[in-house]
Each structure stands twice: as structure tokens, then as C-alpha cells.
């Protein structure tokens, strides 16, 4: 479905201003002046979209309604019906989640002598990692430095990050790139072997390492292969639905469910690495998402129930540029690399309204503002968006640059008869990343003994706004750290009696707060996209779920 005539009319205005815009650069908003546009237009500041949590370690903190429902949710299990003395797996380290962070943690934990099991909701590697396009930041160029990477990262987040986590992030970064290359990742390179690095939003030096726009695919398929080559045990379609503890207050395993047969299996593990990823499929405030099918915040729910605090859960990242047309790919990520290489954002008149390399929160707010002010382009189905001028890249850098750098995106738009090398793309912000998450320290440990965290499910690294290229870096840095620390930790731990008392206490707390009968069951596991969604209300009131009767969301 090519653009309809009235949209083509606006595209002609984009084409008419292109030559003038070749040299036009709008100034970036100074960091101290970002708040007015954020407060008026960024979804994080919309009061009605948030509420205070009524129970648990973050009681009183604000978070999007969709996440609050799940954090205050009912357990899927009845502890009285589960026999904890019959475990199905007995391992040193259980890694929950098999995206980039989970795979990295598993590989390093095994290397450090641990017996590892991975449990994941979908297939090995079905995670947000596989869809990342733009790349991974690492300051390895001679004119760059980890200190500049640090400055960019904290400035992008308006100085809300945990400094020690950022220090770990930037100092481990070059080694993470080399580590991945040792497994055979094909980074884009210049003829002399130096990395081809793109400057993304908020970076003062280009430092984003990429593999065309299939970066996540390339890295994930290599790590997945390495996990298989090393014969690390894994369970697919077997998400964790509750953590198990021992009677000394340590995390000691998890209850897994077979998504197809509803059968439960129990894992006893001396340590658990939580690497369950993000939240996009909760569609906070109704936004479309770039996230994969299983991104439903399960790890946050499980960690919360064992008393682990969360940080910065009042902020979500809305990626400024997600496809707004055609409808079939609504919310598809349009990587920041398009802007990094020169794609400008334009309104219906073909005019720029913001510097395309503003940090993501600011740029998302600017796009929403432009559309609210009637300067967006409305699609035949009522979506609204602004133009991202991809053809300008070929004018700037020579014909073929777009095709060479964005094979995935060119193919995706071509499937709908849109040639992004010749025509701009219509974009609008979409739910992309959970900035915050499980509280943890630079070595990967959380405040709860035996529980470690890595990747998108943890928080503090990115503060209240993440820079592009830092989320995937987070996977390799903290995945490896969590794996290493967990492997060390299990050498000294001797578990005592397993218990699910924390689930009993949780249900009691919910009941006392009057929430048990008005909140859904969680973790959610999968979104309800089938036309007759599962009826939460009918289920949890009449029949408390029992082992063997576990239903999927």
C-alpha cells in the first residue's frame, strides 16, 4: 500500500525543502531547559496514566497503571498444593530469560564452574535483543573516552542514573564488543579493521557499533549458537511464575509452567539470575510497541514478591520514531541510526521542528507536540505522525548508503510497496523500553540474597531516560557481571528448607489491602491479542488456581 495521494502531496513539500535542509541544523535544547516540553507532552508526565502502589516494597511510588495492576497482582499458584521436596531440576544457577542478558549470564556462569539452567517463556533468543537495530555503544575510538561516554549517559538521563552503575557500564564497554567478536559477531568495520561507528542521539562522539540494521539478530543468533555448543541446559516455553525461597530468606529456585500443557516443574537453584527483559506488551497509555511478544514485565513481578525493591518505575521510554504507516507495521522500530546518518524529522509542511539527535524523551515530546498542534500527517486509519526523511541520507552520503545500512528496514517497507530510499517514512513515538526496574548493584546482585539481575528488567543504569545503544551494552556488561557474581556466590551457599511462605504472606497482604479480589493474576506471561481474551475476573474469584490448572494470562 503506497502512500495515498494526499500524503504524497505533503511528501512533495518534503522534497521541495530537502536541498535547503542539507545545511540546516536546529539547535539542541540545553539540558536545563528540557522540562517544559517534557512536562506538557511526554507520557511519563500524564497524571492519569500513573498511580501509587498500595502494597509491596515500593508502596507509595508511582508507576503506570498497567504495571501497577501486575505488581499488585495475585499469584498463579497455591503454595499449599505444591510439594517442594520433589524438585525436577537441581542446579547451581537458574537464569530466567534467554535474551542477550540471559545468554551472557549463562555463558559466564558456566565458564566460572556453575551448573546452569536457562528457563525461558518462548524460544531461546526470542527477546527484545533480537530486534535491536541501531547498535551498541563503546568508547574505543582514539578521540573518544569512557569518561565522555559517562558524561553523555548521565546527561541524557538528566543526571538521574546511579553513578556506580554507569561507571561499570562505560568501563566494560570496549571489552564487551571484543568479547562478542570472539564468538564471531560480524561487526561493521572499516577496511583497516576499525569499527564503523555511528553517532546516535545524545552522543558527543560516534560510538555505536552495529551490524547493518540487523545488529540484534546477528548478536543473538551467535550467542544462541554458543549456548547450544556449550550444551547449557535450557527449557523453552517454560516461564517462571513464582520464585522459591529457603527458610533463611534466600532466593532458591523457581516454579516453571509448561505454556502448552500447564504442567508445573520445580527448580532448586542456589542462585537465580533474573533476565526477563521489558514491558512493551503492556502497552502503557495505549501506545503501540516495538517489543517482542513476551515483553510483559514478568521478572519485575516475581522480584517484587520476594521483597526486592524496584527503581525508576515511573518512567518508560517511548522511542521517538516508530512506524505510523502502514497500519500492518504500526509501532515497528525505526532505528535511531536513520537519524544518526542524517534523517531529519519534518512536519506536514516539510519543515524541521526539532534537532533529530535530541535525547529520546525530549524528541518524543517534540513529535507529540508537533502533532497536537495540527502539524502532523493523519493516515487513512486515523493514526498521526511526522516524516522521517530517509532519502536525505543518500543525498548526504551518496546513493546506496540507505540500502547498505538498513537492509532490514528497506525490506520491511518494500513489503508494503514503500521505497524508503526514495520516500520518507511516517513515524510517531512508541513504547520501547523500561528505563527502570529491579534495584541492583554493579556486581549484578540485588538486595535479596540469591537474586541477581541483568538487562532490561533491572534499573538504575539509565536513570529516567536511556540513550540509544546503551540498552544492548547493558546486556553484555551486566549479563556477564551477574553471571560471574552468581557463580561465585553459589560456591559458598548451602540451601536450607525450601519454602513458598513469601507467596502466602503476599496474598495475605493483598487481602488486607482489599486488593486480592480486584487485581488480576500475574505475571501476565503473554498479551491478550486473541479476540476472546481470557477472563481474569471470572477466574481468580471462583477458583484459586492450582498446580496442573495453571492458565496462561
Amino acid at each position: 500500500m503506497p502512500y495515498p495521494a494526499y500524503m504524497e502531496e505533503s511528501i512533495r513539500k518534503v522534497e521541495a525543502t530537502r536541498e535547503r535542509r542539507l545545511k540546516e541544523e536546529l539547535p539542541r535544547i540545553p539540558v536545563g531547559e528540557r522540562m517544559p516540553v517534557l512536562k506538557e507532552f511526554h507520557p511519563d508526565f500524564i497524571e492519569a496514566g500513573m498511580r501509587e502502589l498500595l502494597v509491596g516494597p515500593n508502596k507509595g511510588d508511582r508507576t503506570p497503571n498497567e504495571l501497577a495492576d501486575l505488581l499488585e497482582g495475585n499469584s498463579r499458584i497455591d503454595p499449599d498444593k505444591i510439594e517442594l521436596d520433589k524438585v525436577d531440576y537441581d542446579v547451581d544457577v537458574l537464569v530466567i530469560g534467554a535474551g542477550g542478558a540471559g545468554a551472557a549470564a549463562a555463558l559466564i556462569a558456566q565458564e566460572n564452574g556453575a551448573n546452569v539452567l536457562i528457563a525461558t517463556k518462548l524460544r531461546l533468543g526470542d527477546a527484545n535483543t533480537i530486534g535491536y537495530q541501531g547498535g551498541t555503544q563503546a568508547a574505543d575510538r582514539p578521540d573518544d573516552s569512557p569518561a565522555l561516554h559517562y558524561l553523555d549517559t548521565v546527561g541524557g538521563a538528566r543526571f538521574t542514573n546511579d553513578p556506580k552503575l554507569v561507571e561499570a557500564l562505560v568501563k566494560d564497554a570496549p571489552d564487551a564488543i571484543r568479547w562478542l567478536e570472539s564468538f564471531g559477531v560480524n561487526w561493521d568495520k572499516n577496511p583497516d579493521g576499525s569499527y564503523f561507528e555511528v553517532g546516535l542521539a545524545g552522543e558527543c562522539v560516534p560510538r555505536c557499533h552495529c551490524c547493518k540494521d540487523y545488529t540484534g539478530l546477528e548478536v543473538m543468533r551467535v550467542l544462541r549458537d554458543e549456548v547450544k555448543c556449550r550444551n547449557i541446559n535450557y527449557v523453552e516455553f517454560g516461564p517462571a511464575i513464582e520464585l522459591i525461597m529457603d527458610d533463611k530468606g534466600r532466593v532458591a529456585g523457581a516454579v516453571l509452567v509448561n505454556l502448552e500443557t500447564n504442567e508445573l516443574s520445580l527448580v532448586r537453584a542456589k542462585a537465580v539470575v533474573m533476565a526477563t527483559g521489558g514491558i512493551g506488551r503492556l502497552h502503557t497509555q495505549g501506545f503501540p510497541t516495538t517489543n517482542h511478544y513476551g515483553a510483559t514485565a514478568d521478572g519485575l513481578v516475581l522480584a517484587y514478591r520476594v521483597g526486592c525493591p524496584l527503581v525508576d518505575i515511573d518512567t518508560m521510554q517511548y522511542h521517538p520514531t516508530c512506524a505510523a504507516y502502514p497500519l500492518a507495521i504500526l509501532g515497528l522500530l525505526v532505528t535511531e541510526k536513520v537519524r544518526g546518518l542524517g534523517g531529519q524529522l519534518l512536519n506536514i509542511d516539510g519543515e524541521q521542528f526539532a534537532n533529530p539527535l535530541e535525547p529520546r524523551d525530549v524528541l518524543a515530546a517534540c513529535i507529540i507536540r508537533e502533532c497536537r498542534q495540527g502539524k502532523g500527517i493523519t493516515t487513512p486509519t486515523g493514526e498521526v505522525g511526522v516524516w522521517l526523511d530517509s532519502p536525505r541520507i543518500d543525498v548526504l552520503h551518496g546513493e546506496g548508503t540507505v540500502a547498505r545500512n538498513f537492509p532490514a528496514m528497506v525490506r520491511q517497507f518494500a513489503r508494503f510497496d514503500i521505497d524508503m530510499t526514495k520516500k520518507p517514512m511516517l513515524v510517531y513515538p512508541g513504547l520501547h523500553y523500561q528505563n527502570g526496574g529491579i534495584k541492583f548493584s554493579p556486581d549484578g546482585a540485588t538486595p535479596v540474597p540469591g537474586l541477581f539481575a541483568a538487562g532490561e528488567c533491572e534499573g538504575g543504569v539509565h536513570g529516567k531516560n536511556r540513550l540509544g545503544g546503551n540498552s544492548t551494552l547493558d546486556l553484555w556488561v551486566f549479563g556477564r557481571r551477574a553471571g560471574r557474581t552468581a557463580a561465585q556466590y553459589v560456591k559458598e551457599v548451602k540451601l536450607s528448607k525450601l519454602t513458598l511462605d513469601h507467596v502466602r504472606r503476599w496474598q495475605k497482604e493483598l487481602k488486607e489491602a482489599g486488593l486480592a479480589e480486584v487485581r488480576p493474576i500475574s505475571p501476565k506471561l503473554l498479551p491478550d491479542y486473541a479476540r476472546q481474551p481470557y477472563d481474569y475476573l471470572a477466574d481468580y474469584v471462583t477458583e484459586r488456581l492450582q498446580p496442573g490448572q495453571i492458565k496462561v494470562a
Binding site: 574505543d140 562505560v170 570496549p174
Partner: protein
């Protein structure tokens, strides 16, 4: 009432057949969203929903045309009289190997995947690729030991598995090409000197003082430094 009619006219309904049963769905849905619209709750065969993960490789044909076609369910729009079925991703031959102990040669590939020589060039793999890759070409490159060519031609592979499903010889092109790409990235691609130098500098603590200083700066001073930092474009 008049308005309702108008809306109804706008959305064209299509007949599709899911595992033989007829459903009506609106035009513009993908195979994946059409399945969901018809009430199917997907567990397998659904992943990133954006053409990166390869979980939803699928086949389809038409009521009056039995020729099999191939697509990603998350990308392919439904068409009138489409016959759909879901093929969950199924396991394929995947030997274990240790990349550290390998050499980037054709012999090495044949050692791990000896069945490669049984390819007789039927080209079913190429025809079934939803990414339109030249699968047979890179399979013959692999046979000749041209690892670089395999890496280039196979780079956009999503590992959806359709090529292996259609191979009459039981070959797994997506795993063979993965091995080639790993060998290329590890052994053949030119190495970066900068990264080794930078890692050595970090290990020697070269940036520690500067970063620790920033950790202790007042918000005001840190903000000033951020706004005044020099921006290098390329």
C-alpha cells in the same frame, strides 16, 4: 445509521481458511493478526512481530491454487481465499563445536557438516526463503569453502527454518551459514587495534580519576560540563 453503513463499506472483508475452516477477516491484517482476530491465541510461531526473530516463518496457498508460498506471518497481509496453517518452529541438526579450536577453511565446514556434499541443487531452499536470500548460492559457496561470500550473502538470514524444512536432503542451510559467519567474524574480518588499546588503558586505570571526579561533581557543574562538551560528528 448512515454513518454506520459508511464504515462498513470502508472495511473490505476477506474470506480466509485456517486449517480448512472458513473465517471472514478485514483487509489489512497480517496472517498473524488475522489468526488472533479469529480467536487463536498464539504461543508458538510468534516472536518479535517485526521480521527479526524468524519465529513465524509460514506456508500458505489459495483455495484454487495449491502451489505453496512462503512468508513471515507477522509481515504478510492476508488475501482473498488464502489457505493458512501454522508450522511451529521445529528443531534441526545442530552439532556442538568449539570456535576456539577451529580454522576458517572449507574442510572445517565439511568436517562439522559432512552432509553438505549431498546438495544436488534443487533450489527449494532459495524458493522458500521469506527474506529472498540466494540460499543455494551461499550453500555452493560453503561447499567451495568461500566463507566470506557465505557471510555476505547469508547475513540477512532470520533462521526461520523454512529452507531446512523444504530440503529433500535434510540439510540445514541456516546453521551451516551461521557457522560460516562465526568463522568469518572471528578469524577472517580485519581486527580493530583501537579496541585492544582502549581495553588496556581501562585496565591500567587511565580513566578512573576523571570518572570518579564526575561522580562527585555538583549537579550544576556536571550540567555545565555536559552542555559545553564538544560534539564530534564523524
Amino acid at each position: 445509521m448512515a454513518q454506520e453503513t459508511k464504515v462498513a463499506e470502508k472495511v473490505r472483508m476477506l474470506d480466509i481458511y485456517i486449517m480448512g475452516k472458513r473465517y471472514q477477516v478485514s483487509e489489512g491484517l497480517t496472517i498473524m493478526t488475522a489468526l488472533e482476530y479469529c480467536g487463536y491465541r498464539l504461543i508458538r510461531g510468534c516472536g518479535c512481530r517485526a521480521a527479526f526473530c524468524g519465529a513465524c516463518g509460514t506456508v500458505y496457498n489459495f483455495k484454487n491454487d495449491p502451489t505453496l508460498r512462503y512468508a513471515l506471518a507477522c509481515q504478510k497481509l492476508v488475501e482473498q481465499d488464502m489457505y493458512l496453517t501454522q508450522i511451529p518452529f521445529f528443531p534441526a541438526a545442530k552439532p556442538s563445536y568449539d570456535l576456539d579450536k577451529m580454522e576458517p577453511t572449507g574442510e572445517q565446514i565439511l568436517k562439522i557438516y559432512p552432509e553438505l556434499v549431498t546438495c544436488f541443487g534443487c533450489n527449494n531452499c532459495t524458493k522458500s526463503c521469506p527474506q529472498d536470500l540466494e540460499v543455494l548460492w551461499f550453500m555452493s559457496d560453503a561447499l567451495r569453502g568461500d566463507i566470506k561470500e557465505v557471510a555476505i550473502k547469508s547475513f540477512d538470514c532470520l533462521m526461520c527454518g523454512l529452507c531446512a524444512a523444504r530440503c529433500p536432503q535434510g540439510l540445514v542451510p541456516y546453521n551451516i551459514s551461521l557457522l560460516c559467519r562465526r568463522l568469518y567474524g572471528r578469524y577472517i574480518a580485519p581486527k580493530s587495534k583501537h579496541v585492544d588499546e582502549r581495553i588496556a588503558e581501562i585496565e591500567a586505570g587511565k580513566f578512573d580519576a576523571e570518572i570518579e571526579e564526575m561522580e562527585k561533581l555538583s549537579l550544576e557543574e556536571l550540567r555545565r560540563r555536559f552542555d559545553e562538551r564538544k560534539i564530534i560528528k564523524d
